[in-house]
Amino acid sequence: MLKRIDNASNEKPTGFSRRTFLVTTAAAGGGLLLGVYLPRTIGAKAQIADAELAPNAFVRIKPDDTITLVMPQVEMGQGTYTSMSMLIAEELEVDLAKVSLEAAPASDKLYALPLLGFQVTGGSTSVMGFWEPLRRAGATARVMLIQAAAARWNVDPASCKAEKGEVISSVGDRLTYGALVEAAAKLPVPDKVALKDPKDFTLIGTPARRLDTPEKVNGKAKFGIDAMIPGMKFATVAACPVFGGKLKSVDDSKAMAIKGVRQVVKIDNAVAVVGDHMWAAMQGLGALDIEWDDGPHANVTTASIVEQMVRASQNDGVVARSDGDFAKAIQGVAKRIDAVYEVPFLAHAAMEPMNCTVHVTKDSCDIWVGIQVVARAQATAAQVTGLPPDKIQVHNHLLGGGFGRRLDVDGITQAVEIAKQVDGPLKVVWSREEDVQHDVYKPYFFDRITAGLDADGRPIAWHHRITGSSVFARWVPPTFKNGFDPDTVEGAKPPYDLPNFLLEYVRNEPPGLVTGNWRGVGPTHNVFVVESFIDELAAATKKDPVEFRRSMLGKSQRLLGVLNLAVEKAGWGRPLPEDVRRGVSVQFVMGTYLSQVAEVQVSKEGEVSVRRVVCAVDCGQIVNPDTIAAQIEGGIIFGLSAALWGEITLKNGRIEQHNFNDYRVLRINEAPQIEVHLVKNGEAPGGIGEPGTIGIAPAVANAIFAVTGKRIRKLPIKDQLRSA
């Protein structure tokens, strides 16, 4: 049982930034700094009260056997609190049921994701990034505890072992970790520790109960929106409905007359109403008479954005990859196929609407929120308040869905701007409509793609030109180099043997709209295009889509493995009703090999229903198998919502969708049966949060082609088959 997830309280967290810490071991484990902080030097009594073993930023053990694991990664449903804990607990030799978890405070130094170099939870990277550092963090503490015990018993440390929170000697003497804390804390932190041989794992790879579940079924779990600070007021906000516009004027006389409304706060591009509760704030907002200065984007429409993109796509792009010689190879092909693919803007629509609670005083700022980038939250608050970062405390909470939305801190910037003008703590909550209309959107992409087949029907020339926004150019500018970023083009190189391959990128930013990370980022777009187009080639040569793929996967045994497993479990080739067919997709992105088979029904009226999805996954070393299955199931459903209906459109510079009525998402009666099959091996761990989302759209689109003969080249599928 989870004792406590201390990410919600009103108390100050243990905050490493408020303690003195000394970095003793640099660059251990994938560039991560293992920091040791020393007890505060404010008197002997305080030192005793504070006695604990904390050899690094992830593990703290107290004399009373309290073991606290500090979670570098944020929990947004992906199960990372459990898998991160498993990595530490495996090496620390403690029972998962005996640990307390704590959300990491803001610190790019202590909690940077080794792969990206800053504090971030995203990109399906948590296990990949922390696989070694967290096991090392646990092992370091274990080694020190064993040393302390061996010294007490006057025996060789090698003769002792650690087990379930105790050190045990060769003759059966036992000491709990708590009893060893004081002695162990005085030992130097070892530079190098041996990690367990994977064959000796007792926890990693076993289905562990999720540590965050019990409090999520009884209403006790605290999300950012649940922060309750004494004396807190509530606010809701309207930002200019046109991106880039400003607040011109507001008449608040009617709003201020509403019982419970306390204040109307104006900032550059938005207005907020502060009240005693959300209801007062909502009513107050509705009663405002607001005049906006729409700014330069008042005439933007989806059509105007796409038109601009189509024009841009006619120019050469930056070459992101070139194998062989496409221009030459395409001359001599037996058959040439050209296509255009498009994917729409998408909102995230996480179930927890955007919110942020802030308390600004003249020399401090506290923030209660659920955010995927904790240190960036601190940085933006420092900028808005003018306070130094160490005066900003971010109390991170559970996230009611992230999906990439909470990789951006725009909501925190805005909340701090508002709270600066308010006395006391303020909870700012967006309405669902505000959440849908002020998102950072998954970019629209316009893709031109060409393939040339030889006389045997094999693709020997391939050209793909992607036109659209670069999210990373804004979000992590250093990754945008030589005209492209690695994410926008990830997954565009299919895993097949393609001797002459040319990939170009034309950057084209939509006016009046900010684009952001959305589950599966670049690959969600690219794998749809590539796996649909491969299906087009198979159809053009009258080959079975599975056979066609197999014939080109000679170099990737792991991909072939998941393809074969998925089609076998799906019963590929087995008869189906006339209006039901199967479609397949294959992908290798984010370090994980995956294949999906979707079984789709298309009625005479053009109604699409996804009945069953079978998915085979090879993500290398498995930490918590049930969580992997859950992530794939959920990822598929998230991807299905988008593939079937997801679409954000603009008119007069304004987003046309509002709420779940016109931004439709999958409901339980529309959810397919899903089967996930895991390949077990000891390869390096791959990512799992996003891969399920990525390959579902092409699998469904390919199945639709098999039923109807109509190729889906533009998402969402929506009513495309009805007009057919």
Binding site: V217, N218, W279, A350, N661, I668
Partner: protein
């Protein structure tokens, strides 16, 4: 000054009559287990029980529930069906982010109370008003089945 009975406790409140129950629960009483998702009864995150029936608290004015028995996620485990559903949710590991799950559980308990052995189609119908963006639907189906079969 509406008087409400929430999770067995009488509450004297100084709130406007038209204030939705959701905000009374969350912002006035501090029962934050009931969630805000859409504000217009489209997503089910705010589901609570009114005399045992599921209602969307985001559109229910507090004046409509005066004198009636309101049960929220914080107390649903005290009922037999509530405990069963919560246990099944744990057994099946339904939950991901968890934000919608209070509402899912309240709808599932109400289903089981009115129909102890629901079919798949009946589960889908009863639960179709509750959106989950994490996509826990297959496990919700399995957990309701399991709860309905447990003694």
């Amino acid at each position: 000054m509406p008087k409400l009975v929430i999770n067995g406790q009488a509450q004297d409140l100084d709130v406007p009559d038209d204030m939705p129950l959701l905000w009374v629960l969350r912002d006035v009483i501090g029962l934050t287990g009931t969630k805000f998702g859409c504000g217009v009864a489209l997503c089910g995150a705010c589901t609570v029980h009114l005399d045992g029936r599921p209602i969307r608290s985001c559109i229910t004015p507090v004046s409509n529930v005066v004198g009636k028995k309101i049960t929220t996620i914080e107390a649903i485990g005290e009922t037999e069906s509530g405990a069963k559903i919560q246990q099944a949710w744990l057994n099946i590991e339904v939950v991901q982010c968890g934000y919608c799950q209070s509402g899912q559980i309240m709808s599932a308990v109400a289903l089981l109370e009115s129909n102890p052995n629901p079919t798949d189609a009946e589960i889908d119908t009863a639960m179709s008003g509750n959106i989950c963006r994490c996509g826990t639907y297959p496990r919700i189906r399995a957990a309701i089945k399991q709860a309905s079969q447990s003694a």
